[in-house]
Symmetry: none
Subunit: 201 residues, 2 copies
DNA sequence: ACTCAATCAGAACAAGTGTACTCTCGACTA
DNA sequence: TAGTCGAGAGTACACTTGTTCTGATTGAGT
C-alpha cells in the first residue's frame, strides 16, 4: 500500500471512523470543518490522492458516496497452517476474512447446537450454526445439512435426503437413528451455510 | 419491534443490503428505481414509517444519511437446535451473534487449516481458525490449541502441553505423532480462540 | 357505504453538494 | 535557481437530492 502524507492519513483515519460510526460518508464540507479548514479545495486534493493510491473510491458527482476500499470489519488472514507438517504464510497479499459481510446474507440467522448428533460432520455441542432460510424445499440438494422442523414439533439439525415422496433426516452419528417422514410432515427452516465455534476456555 | 407492511419490509431489506455493500445510503431516487416506482413520494412514505417504527434514522435535509438502527453486522440467534431431539426457540429475547465484534479482539488473525491432524478437535481441512497472539508463553494453559512455529520452520496447529522444560505438541489425530521440543525451540504464535467454517457447497 | 391508512404519479422548489477554477505559500529536488 | 508537488483560501456553478405539494387508487376495517 502506497504511503500517505500526514494530512492524507489524518483525513483517512477520520473517514474510516466516521463511516463506521454513521454508516455513510460525510460531505466534503463536513470533512473541511473536521479538519479545521476553510476551503473545500484541500479536501478535494486529499481525496484525489487517497483514491489514486487505492484507499477509497466514490461515485462521481453523487453526494456522500465515498467507500473505504480496505475492509473495515474483517480480520486479516495471514496464511495457511497446520497439519501435514506443511505451512505457508501469505506475505505479500493479505486477504481478509470478513466475518460480517462476505459469506452471510441478510436473513441468515444463527442457532446454538445442543447435543452431538452431528459430530460426524464436525459440528459439536455448543457450536453456533449459521442458517440460511429455504423458501423452496425443492431446491435443497441431496446431503445438505438442514434445520428441519418435524410435524410442528421440535427442530433438529440433520443431513437432508430425498427418497421418492419421503424425506430422510440422517444424523452424523451412529448412535442416533435415521428418521423418515413424508415431505409434507417436515418443514425445512434453513440450510447450513457456516459454523462458528468460540468455546475455547 | 413493530411489524412492517410488505412494501416497507421490501424497502428495508434492500436498504440493509445496499448500505452493507456500499458503506453509504442510497438516494431516494435510487430507491425509487430499485423498487420499480416512478415517484419519490411512496419512498418517503415508507421511510417515514420505518423511522417512526424505529428501524432507521437520518439527518434531516442531508443527502444519503440514512442509518440502520439495528446492528447490521451481527446476525440474530433464534435459539438452540438439534441433536438429542431437544430444541428450544428463543422467542422473546433475540440475542445477536456479532461475528465482527464480540469475541474477536484487535490483533487477532485468521489462518486457513490444511490437513486433518486436528480432526479430533473437530477442526477439519479448509476451516478458518482465528488466533490470538500470545506474548507470554508462560501464560498458556495446558491443553490449549496453539499455532506453534518449530525452529524457525513450519507452523502447525496442535495441543500445547508442558513437560518440565520441554514442550509437547499433540495432534488430535492418532495417525500423527506427538512431537517434543525444548521450550526454546518452539515459538508460540497464537492460541486458538475460534473456528469458522463456511465450506458448505 | 363510509372512513382511514398506505400506496402510487407527477411536478416543483430550495438546499445540500461535488466539482472546477484562480490564487498563494512552503518544502523539496534537479 | 527554477520547477514540481502538496497544502490551503476563496469563489462560482450546475447537478444531486430531500422535501413539499396536489391528486388518484387501493384495501382493510367499521
Amino acid at each position: 500500500m502506497e504511503p500517505l502524507t500526514e494530512a492524507q492519513q489524518e483525513l483517512y483515519d477520520w473517514l474510516v471512523d466516521y463511516i463506521r460510526d454513521n454508516q455513510h460518508s460525510p460531505s466534503i464540507r463536513q470533512m473541511m470543518k473536521a479538519m479545521g479548514l476553510k476551503s473545500p479545495a484541500p479536501i478535494q486534493s486529499r481525496l484525489d490522492h487517497l483514491r489514486k493510491k487505492g484507499y477509497i473510491d466514490w461515485s462521481e458527482g453523487k453526494a456522500r458516496t465515498i467507500r473505504i476500499l480496505q475492509d473495515i470489519h474483517g480480520i486479516p488472514v495471514y496464511g495457511a497452517i497446520a497439519a501435514g507438517y506443511v505451512s505457508e504464510v501469505y506475505t505479500d497479499e493479505v486477504t481478509r476474512l470478513d466475518l460480517a459481510g462476505l459469506p452471510i446474507k441478510s436473513g441468515d440467522y444463527a442457532l446454538k447446537v445442543n447435543g452431538d448428533s452431528m459430530i460426524g460432520a464436525m459440528i459439536q455441542d455448543g457450536d453456533m450454526v449459521i442458517m440460511r432460510p429455504v423458501h423452496d424445499p425443492q431446491s435443497i440438494r441431496e446431503g445438505t445439512i438442514v434445520a428441519a422442523r418435524i410435524e410442528r414439533g421440535e427442530t433438529t439439525l440433520k443431513y437432508f435426503h430425498r427418497q421418492g415422496n419421503q424425506v430422510q433426516l440422517k444424523p452424523a452419528n451412529q448412535d442416533y437413528p435415521v428418521q423418515e417422514f413424508l415431505a409434507s410432515q417436515v418443514d425445512i427452516q434453513g440450510r447450513l451455510v457456516a459454523v462458528w465455534r468460540d468455546s475455547f476456555d
